[in-house]
Amino acid sequence: MDFTVAESNTHVRTVFFNKTRDFVGYLHGRSRRLATILPLLFQQTRPRNKMQFMLLFSRQGKLRLQKWYAPLSDTQKKKISREVIQTVLARKPKMCSFLEWRDLKIVYKRYASLYFCCAVEDQENELITLEIIHRYVELLDKYFGSVCELDIIFNFEKAYYILDEFILGGEAQETSKKNVLKAIEQADMLQEEAETPRSVLEEIGLT
């Protein structure tokens, strides 16, 4: 027989009851949404400051580049990007660049026709994320020479290479613009060396 002490604070239980009920309601209503977000939720429990994904899309809602740092299935990715794009596009131009979306923070900025959009976890500094986006735009601009959306459409793989040289696994890897561009240039040269002899041979074969 265990002694039970009287609960003097019935308020706590009331709150608990309400919370439980709300949560149950939430589960019923949002089970489908939860299914997509659960992997994000349970992947990490404590340190939560990683970038989850980055999307580039046009004002018409066309995806131009997507980079995922969280392990999600294709369907989930599509669902999430559709939802994020809709949410961001619905915002008016003067609104602030941050919004809470599910348990993530969306940081976005529009450059001309293109939206750059990052999803970070709640511990991340939003302002530095904004700086990271800006740095990426600067890198693209330097590489292409006054970059425009068409550059990213037609050379999307280059845009990916630059991103991979700047951000690794959701964290910025290089804080110097010069170093990133140097690395990209050298890698491009290496690629060209690998490709050139082949195209010459091809030409010979053709003529």
Binding site: F17, L150, A187
Partner: protein, 862 residues
């Protein structure tokens, strides 16, 4: 050919594309993205370019910076973009996909990398591209850098860690990690950090650890971040990287240093031992940070006048973790933080980012009070910033500290309330949360005015949050009952559809207790009901009040509100409109029906009309309503002599007394699991218990009028079963006597036990303690214990002091639930102090008789 047709079938319309995708070139696509920043200031306007013009411009610049583009890829993109309709686009992509498959089948012909690049573009458009997975694996294994590069890119896009194909690349990554070219190594590192599964991480962790000690900083910085990814995936591998992480702090290269800080942060957050170990590195980190802050201008790392904000932010975050709840570490960084907080220029985003991080660090470590003031002031300054982003950040951080530094935040109340009017919903949400946190007894009236204005204008997604926030604030700080009722009614009229279900019973409970305001409330609610019957919760409360206090409404005398003459027909018309309206929910109809019934004893003339209304619902399609109506009909006919007594006004409910709180009803719901669930949402509080009474009554007189088991409704304020029993006691011919017995008598303290049988399994026991000694008994507590199979629930005691000479008593209710019907035993332990001496005693109550009304517990003192 067959395969091609198969391809055609597999290509589906991508889900996220708009219905018409004809990509007519827009001016925007050709506008430089950089324009926004670089050119806009110069006032240049960009003239639209065609695809061809864009191509010319690009080719003029030669291939020095951009390598020769893959012509076939760009050709395909152009063709896809030229499609005018969705259908046309799908056709092109089907052809291309068939082509790509054919290329893949042919094997190594030098075209594979182009084909994969094409496929990746198709994938980005939202079409399926899984058939390229194996090609990625093959290309990664190639010896050519160009093929490896696109292969790894494809792997990152097409593979995810759950697929088997990803295991196939583990070996290639392993080989490439020790490749002679740093760029090949880089590809492998990048892919591992992006999509490495736990298994892959375990396999490759030693390789990464080796690369952490490489001489090449290009590889080193990537390896550190790879290590971070590995630790996130497999936390127990952290120990492997701890020693090398420590030595990386001496690095001069910012990239490596940045990676190292991220790695150490990750290690410290996961392992308290490592955290302690790295606390020793605080002076070193402070030194690095000082170097950054005081360094002269270096173009390489400078961003808007701030030297490497990326690195600064990461160091500040690490310092925050190291200084959290640790005085030594906090002391070591106080000066630095003060320096950063005062010297950082916040006019640009980069500077604000560093300041923001500094404020967070100051608030999280054991910092000096002066420094905390400085931090709050920085946030206050942010609040006045023109940039909405900075204002948002400021409010997010103020929210975090509002509990600890309430007064400091209170100073910025005016600005925060102004932000409620901001156009941006993110800012609004923040301002709302902060405003709710800032409500206090002093400012409740002015704050509530602002909040109510906000409620009427706020976006729908915030409405329910605002409403519940207002209810909480009103409940905590309401200056008067009338004000409280008015506030809730205001919320119900503006946002009645967005309030939580328990609002209605809570408000009803509030109204019953404010007996002097009944007349005022019923008039006010009647007017609201006549004006608008779409707000369900408002209508429910209004119906309830009209039912209860209809006589006051008809009397038309009210001091606090200009009276209007309301006739009986008016009231009945209003209720009838609610009953018949298509907007009314079944629960609302239930309220209205019961109100109508209740009015039958409060009005004089139109009783026949009520009878006809009630009888109509005897054939209602809604089962609950029908049942009520049939019961009420019976009350009109067979039991008419009892109608007045049954329909009497509800007794005043005290929210804090045992048996009336939400939590209790929750417990009771659990106790009666076999009752229909629908009852929970089904019926309003008062009518419900009314019905219960009624059914009990009918049952007692053995009429066949019981269509279904009695629904026990337990919305929050419904009277507990105890009260129902009391009511029955009055109504039934044989009232239930309560037996009281004294179980303890010592030192002038006596404990009486009173016991009522409620149902087969539930017993309510009331313990009453009194004091006949000369001095007050203080710290009086009761504890009870029962056999394991019995559930025990103790309500809050009425107090812990028993006045001397029998002038008062302490009561405590104990609910026992005995599902297995074992013989009840209870042990009660009481402790109290009398004139400073502590006493503790236990008594055992051995047998509770099976029939409650001759309950004579046998007692054995211990």
């Amino acid at each position: 050919m067959l395969l091609q047709r198969k391809d055609i079938r597999t290509v589906k319309h991508p889900v996220w594309l708009p219905a018409v995708t004809s990509e007519v070139l827009t001016v925007e696509e050709r506008t430089g993205i950089g324009e926004w920043n670089y050119r806009a200031a110069e006032g240049k306007t960009m003239s639209p370019e065609s695809d061809a013009a864009w191509k010319r411009r690009r080719s003029e610049r030669g291939t020095d910076t951009i390598m020769t583009p893959s012509v076939r890829l760009q050709e395909m993109i152009r063709v896809i973009r030229s499609a005018r309709t969705q259908c046309e686009e799908r056709g092109i992509i089907q052809r291309e996909c068939a082509d790509i498959r054919a290329q893949f089948r042919q094997g190594d012909n030098g075209e594979r990398s182009h084909s994969l690049a094409k496929l990746l573009y198709v994938h980005m458009l939202g079409y399926p591209a899984h058939f390229g997975q194996m090609e990625c694996v093959r290309l990664i294994a190639s010896t050519r850098y160009s093929e490896k590069r696109i292969g790894y890119l494809g792997a990152m896009m097409l593979l995810d860690e759950k697929q088997d194909a990803s295991l196939l690349i583990t070996n290639s990554i392993k080989n490439d990690l020790s490749h002679s070219s740093q760029f090949v190594q880089s590809l492998a590192l990048c892919t591992l950090a992006c999509m490495g599964s736990a298994e892959m991480c375990r396999d490759l962790a030693p390789e990464i650890e080796r690369l952490l000690r490489a001489s090449n900083s290009y590889i080193k910085k990537k390896a550190t971040l790879c290590a971070v990814h590995i630790i996130r995936k497999v936390p127990e591998l952290g120990e492997l990287f701890t020693p090398s992480a420590r030595s990386l702090l001496c690095e001069k290269n910012h990239g490596v240093l940045h990676g190292a800080i991220v790695l150490i942060t990750e290690l410290c957050e996961r392992n308290p031992d490592t955290l302690g170990q790295f606390r020793k590195a605080v002076p070193e980190l402070v030194q690095i940070m000082k170097g950054l802050v005081t360094s002269s201008y270096s173009p390489e790392h400078n961003v808007a006048g701030i030297s490497d904000p990326f690195l600064q932010v990461r160091i500040l975050r690490l310092l925050r973790i190291l200084g959290h709840k640790n005085d030594t570490a906090s002391d070591a960084m106080n000066d630095l933080l003060a320096q950063v907080a005062t010297n950082t220029d916040s006019s640009k985003t980069a500077g604000s980012a560093v300041l923001y991080e500094t404020v967070l660090t100051i608030m999280d470590i054991n910092s000096e009070s002066g420094l905390r003031v400085l931090a709050v002031n920085i946030l206050g300054r942010f609040l006045l910033n023109n940039d909405r982003n900075i204002r948002y950040i400021s409010m997010t951080s103020l929210q975090k500290i509002v509990q600890t530094d309430h007064n400091a935040v209170q100073r910025h109340r005016g600005t925060i309330v102004d932000c409620l009017k901001d156009q941006d919903s993110s800012v609004k949400r923040r301002a709302l949360e902060l405003s709710l946190a800032l409500v206090s007894a002093v400012n409740i009236r002015s704050m509530m005015k602002e909040l109510l204005i906000f409620l009427s204008t706020c976006p729908p997604e915030l409405r329910s949050h605002t409403a519940s926030g207002i209810f909480n604030a009103a409940e905590r700080y309401s200056p008067s009952k009338r004000w409280h009722i008015d506030t809730i009614l205001h919320v119900l009229t503006t946002a009645g559809g967005d309030v939580r279900d328990e609002t209605v019973p809570n408000l009803i409970q509030l109204i019953t207790t404010a007996s002097e305001l009944h007349c005022y409330t019923v008039h006010k609610l009647y007017r609201a009901l006549v004006k608008d019957i779409s707000q369900q919760s408002l209508v429910q409360v209004a119906c309830w009040c009209i039912g209860e206090y209809g006589d006051m409404l008809l009397k038309g005398e009210c001091e606090e509100i200009t009276p209007v003459q309301v006739t009986e027909d008016d009231v009945l018309d209003a209720l009838k409109t609610v009953l018949q309206s298509h907007m009314s929910s079944p629960a609302t109809r239930g309220f209205a029906l019961t109100a109508t019934m209740k009015l039958s004893t409060r009005i004089t003339e139109n009783v026949d009309r009520i009878r006809s209304i009630v009888s109509i619902y005897g054939s209602c399609i809604d089962l609950e309503l029908q049942q009520r109506a049939v019961e009420y009909n019976a009350l009109f006919k067979k039991y008419d002599h009892m109608r007045a007594a049954v329909l009497e006004r509800m007794p005043v409910m005290d929210k804090n007394s045992p048996g009336h709180t939400n939590g209790d009803t929750f417990a009771e719901t659990i106790k009666e699991p076999d009752l229909p669930k629908s009852a929970e949402e089904g019926f309003p509080s008062e009518p419900a218990s009314q019905v219960y009474d009624l059914l009990g009554l009918l049952g007692a007189t053995d009429t066949p009028l019981q269509p279904s088991p009695a629904p026990i409704c337990t919305p929050p304020t419904s009277t507990s079963s105890a009260d129902i029993l009391d009511l029955l006691g009055e109504l039934e011919l044989t009232s239930v006597p309560k037996s009281t017995v004294t179980v303890y008598e010592k030192n002038g303290v006596s404990l009486k036990l009173q016991c009522d049988k409620q149902t087969e399994t539930d017993v309510t026991v009331t313990l009453i303690a009194s004091n006949s000694s000369q001095s007050d008994i203080t710290n009086f507590t009761l504890q009870a214990a029962v056999p394991k199979s019995v559930q025990l629930q103790m309500k809050a005691p009425s107090g812990n002091v028993i006045p001397a000479q029998g002038l008062g008593e302490v009561t405590q209710t104990v609910l026992l639930n005995n599902p297995n019907k074992v013989s009840l035993k209870m042990r009660v332990r009481m402790s109290y102090s009398n004139q400073g001496t502590m006493f503790q005693d236990t008594v055992q109550i051995d047998s509770f008789p099976s029939t409650a009304w001759n309950c004579q517990p046998s007692i054995s003192p211990l």
